[in-house]
């Protein structure tokens, strides 16, 4: 028997309301280091909210979330440590429009890790090359395509050397021909052993890259299985209906 890996992220009995709407209902799960988890669910099911609670962009109402031993709360010092460890990539990229690609990637290491400009830019350049944008180093975001912007956003996140990366529908705002270049970068990242939580509708990515698929339905985890099992003989009616809608 292989040793049971220590849980890197623990979510325990978490609830979240938006006004009267009960978004997440008593959610408990764990995410292990090095694991790639794809989170699926219909829009409004609470999957993005679950992701955004892990780095405190949303506060949970009750229950506990612990990331690498750090309790997720409003405590300023804990929050600083948490966010330095957890990278996030957004649907709308959210690059800083007034900064160049290089400045976007080098900013947080300079401000948070207190690297000097030269060291931060050296690291930033390596990452920009890794996502295949060496030729665009000194451009501003508006000069790039959506796919290129999202790759910069991934590099910007990686520059903080996070232990886990959260992807919140990273390809949903992209033109179809640009989805692949972003997914390729994400596949490379998964192959390097990065712990990843990915909210997406890209079933191909889920099948090919994920170690595990979580299906969220009406604020609850309705399924938690390896992709082969999840996409195979599915006996859950709601999941079959969801997959039917997504795949056709």
């Amino acid at each position: 028997m292989s040793p049971i890996p220590a849980a890197f992220i623990t979510v325990d009995g978490v609830n979240k309301h938006f006004g009267a709407h009960h978004v997440l209902r008593d959610v408990s799960t764990q995410f292990n280091a090095g694991e790639v988890t794809v989170i699926l669910g219909a829009s409004g099911s609470g999957k993005s909210t679950l992701l955004r609670m892990l780095n405190r962009l949303e506060a949970h109402d009750s229950g506990r979330i612990v990331v690498d031993g750090i309790e997720v709360s409003d405590d300023a010092r804990q929050l600083e440590r948490l966010r330095a460890e957890v990278g996030m990539v957004f649907q709308q990229f959210n690059l800083f429009p007034h900064l160049t690609v290089l400045e976007n990637v080098a900013l947080a290491p300079r401000r948070v890790r207190r690297l000097d400009r030269a060291a931060a830019e050296t690291r930033a350049k390596e990452l920009i090359e890794r996502v295949g944008l060496a030729a665009h180093m000194h451009k501003h975001p508006f000069q790039l395509s959506g796919g290129q912007q999202q790759r910069v956003a991934i590099a910007r996140s990686l520059a903080m050397q996070p232990k886990v990366m959260l992807f919140d529908e990273p390809t949903s705002a992209l033109d179809p021909e640009m989805v692949k270049e972003v997914l390729d970068v994400m596949k490379g990242l998964a192959a390097s052993g990065m712990t990843m939580l990915v909210v997406t509708h890209e079933m191909g990515f889920a099948r090919e890259v994920a170690d595990r698929v979580l299906f969220i339905d009406q604020g609850r985890i309705a399924a938690d299985a390896p992709p082969a099992q999840f996409f195979g003989a599915q006996d859950n009616e709601r999941i079959r209906a969801f997959l039917g809608r997504i795949l056709h």
Partner: protein
């Protein structure tokens, strides 16, 4: 009025053109302040023989504008931060300030600072120039606050989320992310306010500051020649506002990295 910007070599980058324009217009403004008595002295009477008085008035007008303008931007930033603060007392205080200053005439504010404050407490007794600066700064600050606040609110929420997710502190999120983007959005209304301030500084006349309008009025009273005096006064104001617009136009272009203004 055409822009100086279009006079630079076509090969120069927009940033370089903008910087050159800012520099040239600023030098132009200083030259006007320093040398304006010379061209005025070439003019026929009653302008030529009162050139020094007009020049002095011009300098005072610009001094009022620069001092009140700088203080007004700082006040405006503080009031905008107060109004967008999470603390209710700060919001309330900033709201009260903006409400009072925008809801009462500037002339009343100038008179109140000069005449009423000393009656409330002798320590609040100010000279004419200082009183005018205080009243003008408080007034323009309230208008600036609304300009800056709308700029702060126009920065997309995703920008702040991205900064948070990267672990940037509140201070760095403001200094590196929010403020530069808000400033760019606020710049055109801020410039409007400062140009209006230059013209409104003529109200300092009422408490005895010898600025441009007062200087002109003195010449008119002693010569009874209203037409040339008011033409000269208006031309100097136009000259000043034009140079100021050139500077701000260049600043706006300096920040326009997306080339939306081309």
């Amino acid at each position: 009025m055409d822009r100086i910007l279009s006079l630079w070599p076509a090969g120069w980058s927009r940033q370089r053109k903008s910087s050159a324009t800012m520099f040239t217009a600023t030098v132009g403004l200083l030259l006007i302040l320093w040398l304006i008595a010379i061209p005025l002295s070439w003019a026929p009477a009653p302008i030529g023989n009162h050139a020094e008085l007009f020049a002095q008035g011009t300098r005072v007008t610009v001094e009022l504008t620069v001092v009140a303008g700088l203080a007004g931007v700082v006040l405006g930033l503080l009031a905008a931060l107060g109004k967008t603060s999470r603390l209710p007392p700060l919001r309330w205080l900033a709201g009260l300030y903006i409400w009072v200053m925008r809801g009462t005439p500037l002339l009343v504010q100038v008179l109140a600072v000069y005449f009423a404050l000393p009656e409330i407490h002798p320590a609040l007794s100010l000279g004419e120039f200082s009183a005018a600066c205080v009243a003008l700064a408080l007034n323009v600050g309230a208008y600036n606050a609304e300009a800056i606040r709308s700029g702060l609110l126009a920065v997309p929420k995703g920008q702040i989320e991205a900064a948070k997710a990267l672990g940037l502190s509140k201070w760095h999120t403001f200094i590196d992310i929010t403020f530069p983007q808000a400033f760019k959005i606020s710049l055109p209304p801020l410039v409007n306010n400062i140009v209006a301030l230059l013209k409104d500084s003529s109200l300092a006349f009422t408490i005895g500051v010898v600025e441009l309008t007062n200087a002109g009025s003195q010449v008119k009273s002693s010569t009874f020649q209203a037409v040339p005096v008011f033409i000269a006064t208006a031309v100097i104001y136009l000259l000043l506002t034009t140079v100021m617009t050139q500077i701000s136009d260049a600043v706006e272009r300096r920040f326009d990295i997306e080339g939306k203004l081309e």
